[in-house]
């Protein structure tokens, strides 16, 4: 999944200059709501740089108070990049990486302070200062169910019923097909699968398999090497 790609250096070669602008959160949210071609406002550049938000985008969702709205005027504070070299690269959905350009100017977008802005801010602060955890009073008591590992339907079969010895050949077949799927088995699981009494099963296992006492697969049964036909990553017929 590594995207090893050549970086498209056209932007760097053309020395495309871009601006890096820091924008307040609420403004970014408003911009996200833009419709149509995505026009959000106008940028006025003279001695000062300022951005004017479009009228329709000043309405903030979730706040019914009409007097509270996003301010329209946002002067930009221009900053120099300093010695630092900031490049812009893009990653496309097809994992292509391209260098778009180099940052030539940094700016911060600040709202022009107004009454409505102050109200907006106050609302924001109130909301963020609310604790996320509240204590509530409950009307009726809570019933807690303790977790149970062995549900009724989960009970191990070998605890409950007696098992009949099936034909040895059949058992062997069952075992071989089981061992095809996995190499190591616990005796309990084998009993579950084959539904045979333990002693009988162990006898059969002693014939065809070996018991791992130590190592990573502790206390597990596996087929003897001569019965094994494991291919790397493939299941084989026994």
């Amino acid at each position: 999944m590594s995207e090893k790609s050549d970086v498209d250096l056209t932007g760097a070669k053309l020395n495309t200059g871009v601006w890096l602008v820091k924008v307040p959160k609420y403004l970014a949210q408003q911009w996200a709501k833009a419709t149509g071609r995505g026009e959000v406002g106008k940028l006025r550049i003279s001695k000062y740089v300022s951005f004017t938000l479009n009228e329709e985008l000043t309405i903030i969702e979730g706040i019914e108070d009409k007097t509270v709205s996003a301010p329209r005027d946002h002067p930009f504070t221009m900053q120099s990049v300093g010695g630092q070299m900031l490049a812009v690269f893009t990653e496309s959905s097809s994992d292509k990486i391209a260098l778009e350009g180099v940052v030539v100017q940094r700016a911060e977008c600040r709202p022009a302070v107004s009454e409505s802005y102050m109200k907006l801010k106050r609302l924001q602060i109130e909301e963020s200062s609310k604790p996320s955890r509240l204590s509530q009073q409950l009307s009726k008591p809570v019933t807690n169910y303790k977790p149970v590992a062995n549900h009724e339907y989960n009970q191990h079969v070998h605890k409950i019923c007696k098992r009949a010895r099936a034909d040895k050949q059949q058992v062997l077949e069952m075992l071989f097909s089981a061992f095809e799927k996995h190499q190591y088995y616990n005796i309990k699981d084998l009993v579950d699968i084959t539904k045979q009494p333990v002693i009988y099963l162990k006898e059969i296992l002693r014939d065809i398999g070996i018991y791992n006492v130590k190592g990573t697969h502790k206390n597990t049964w596996e087929l003897k090497p001569e019965y094994r036909h494991y291919q790397p990553g493939e299941k084989t017929d026994e």
Partner: protein, 533 residues
């Protein structure tokens, strides 16, 4: 684009658009100003995610089905995780660093690490100007700080710490990497950087080679103490380092052998609290001072003198009560009579098992005869640990460390080291070659010496109170390194330095040679001795 005649001179107005549904995600690639990166100078670049953290994060993948799998393994693992509340952090590809390769194989490489918290409180937008004059704003998805990646070999953190300690002593910095490479070679790693060595070329023979070798040993010695318990050694320290923090109880070291790397203590404040010290009648305090003085003195020796370095290392050990008892004894006593020297040598070297009685007697006479004299304690390679009898001898009434237990641990450690050394470039990654060399004779001793002998590793822990010990260990080292005549050997063990008269030197040397039984070769009509390892 509309231009307004406007109030101020030449105000231009541009429309700002925020395009929706762009398939491209914009990111910032930040470089340090000091790196002087010029993007336009790049001819070619490749960038990919650095997924090396995946295998650290990802759990061991066992085959699910077929060979090697267990029935119900997954469920069991999940149940186990839930039971212990183990929460594994997801491995997110989005957050992984980038690796940027510029200008192909010979060009620069950069690693870009994601900067967190960029989009938390404010959003960054990239304003680009379109051909139609309008501005388009794109939100910045992530910010990556790119730093250049060194292509040359660097020291690891431990090695760097070491070198930092020696910074005042080391003049030739080229040798640092050189030593490291030599060390790696000894460990059997492939050394493929010969070409890159700046300056100093690797030489195996000749004076320079000799120097290098000595350096090597020193380095190794140094490393060993740092690296791993090789507590035997504490060879780690070069005289340059008066690392007190390395001084740990031998016993402790031995016991910590396995965790040595992790458990290195930096301060030795509480080290000796529980230890019982043999006290010489009135010299206890002076002992300490003297030992401390010794290491300081040692630091001044020029690098490259084997013996000095060895002894220095030992002096740095200092403060080792049990283990050190012997050395301290010697140190404070200073003047060693020939008898003492020999006896001690016997004790130390090579597993001649002196009985405790001997040591007892010796200890007493030692105290009687010795005077305070500064001397570097001999290298106590493995020997140190043996706490043992010699200590008790000079310090009556000090149960101190149970010599038995120590020696058994020591023996175990020694034999382990020996085993480690045996297989070429063996698994004993911790012990540099030199240490191994030293260890070997020592490890041979544990057997015969048994509990009574203090040092399982004879080797270095010669008591003599001079910089150079005429020990079997030292002779062995010389002979291994290159064939020498008896005259050469004698030169190495100058009377001034070993404190022996020339007659004694000769005698002792003869004994040692008998014991070692080196091979003979006639070079230039002179009989040379040499040993092969």
């Amino acid at each position: 684009m509309t231009s307004l005649g406007g109030s101020s001179a030449s105000t231009t107005e541009y429309t700002v658009r925020v395009p929706k549904n762009t398939s491209k995600k914009y990111n910032i690639m930040a470089f340090n100003s000091g790196d002087k990166v010029n993007c336009s100078a790049w001819t070619q670049a490749r960038m990919e995610r650095d997924l090396s953290a995946r295998r650290i994060y990802g759990e061991e993948e066992l085959p699910e089905g077929g060979a090697g799998s267990e029935f119900g393994k997954k469920q069991r693992e999940e149940a186990r995780r839930k039971k212990y509340g183990i929460v594994t952090r997801e491995f997110k590809v989005e957050d992984q660093p980038w690796i940027l390769k510029v200008n192909g194989k010979a060009g620069k490489r950069f690693k870009g690490i994601k900067k967190g918290g960029v989009t938390e409180n404010a959003s960054y937008y990239i304003f680009t100007q379109c051909p139609d004059g309008a501005f388009e704003a794109f939100p910045v998805h992530g910010w990556y700080n790119f730093t250049p990646v060194a292509k040359h070999r660097t020291l690891t953190a431990e090695e760097a710490e070491e070198e930092w300690g020696r910074r005042n002593k080391v003049v030739n910095h080229f040798s640092i990497m050189l030593q490291r490479r030599l060390r790696e070679q000894e460990r059997g790693e492939e050394d493929d950087d010969d070409a890159d060595k700046p300056g100093k070329k690797k030489k195996k023979g000749g004076g320079k080679g000799g120097d290098l070798r000595i350096h090597d040993l020193d380095e190794d010695l140094e490393m060993s103490s740092d690296d791993s318990d090789n507590s035997m050694g504490d060879d780690g320290e070069n005289k340059a380092k008066a690392k007190k923090d390395k001084a740990k109880g031998k016993a402790k070291k031995k016991k910590q052998k396995s965790n040595e790397k992790d458990a290195l203590e930096d301060s030795d404040d509480g080290d000796y609290e529980g230890l019982e010290v043999d006290y010489m009648s009135d010299e206890s305090s002076s002992e300490e001072e003297l030992t401390k003085e010794k290491p300081n003195k040692q630091e001044e020796h020029p690098k490259g003198i084997d013996e000095a370095s060895e002894s220095e290392e030992e002096s740095e050990e200092e403060n080792q009560n049990e283990e050190e008892a012997k050395e301290e004894e010697e140190e404070e006593e200073g003047k060693k009579t020939p008898v003492q020297v020999e006896k001690k040598k016997k004790k130390d070297s090579s597993g001649e098992s002196e009985t405790s009685d001997d040591s007892d007697i010796e200890g007493e006479t030692a105290s009687a005869l010795f005077m305070a004299k500064k001397r570097t304690p001999p290298k106590r390679a493995a020997g140190r640990g043996s706490a043992g009898s010699s200590r008790t001898s000079s310090r009556p009434g000090t149960p101190s460390i149970d010599s038995g237990s120590t020696s058994s641990t020591l023996r175990a450690a020694a034999s382990k080291l020996e085993q480690g050394k045996r297989p070429p470039q063996g698994p004993s990654a911790d012990s540099p070659a030199a240490k191994r060399l030293k260890m070997e004779p020592s490890s041979q001793s544990p057997g015969p010496s048994g509990k009574s002998t203090p040092q399982p590793s004879s080797g270095k822990s010669t008591p003599s109170s001079s910089d150079v010990q005429l020990t079997e260990e030292a002779v062995r080292r010389y002979l291994i390194r290159k064939p020498m005549t008896t005259k050469d050997l004698l030169k190495k063990f100058q009377t001034k330095r070993t404190g022996l008269s020339s007659e004694q030197t000769v005698n002792v040397l003869a004994q040692i040679l008998k014991r070692l039984n080196p091979e003979r070769k006639n070079i230039n009509d002179k009989m040379h001795f040499y040993l092969t390892e």
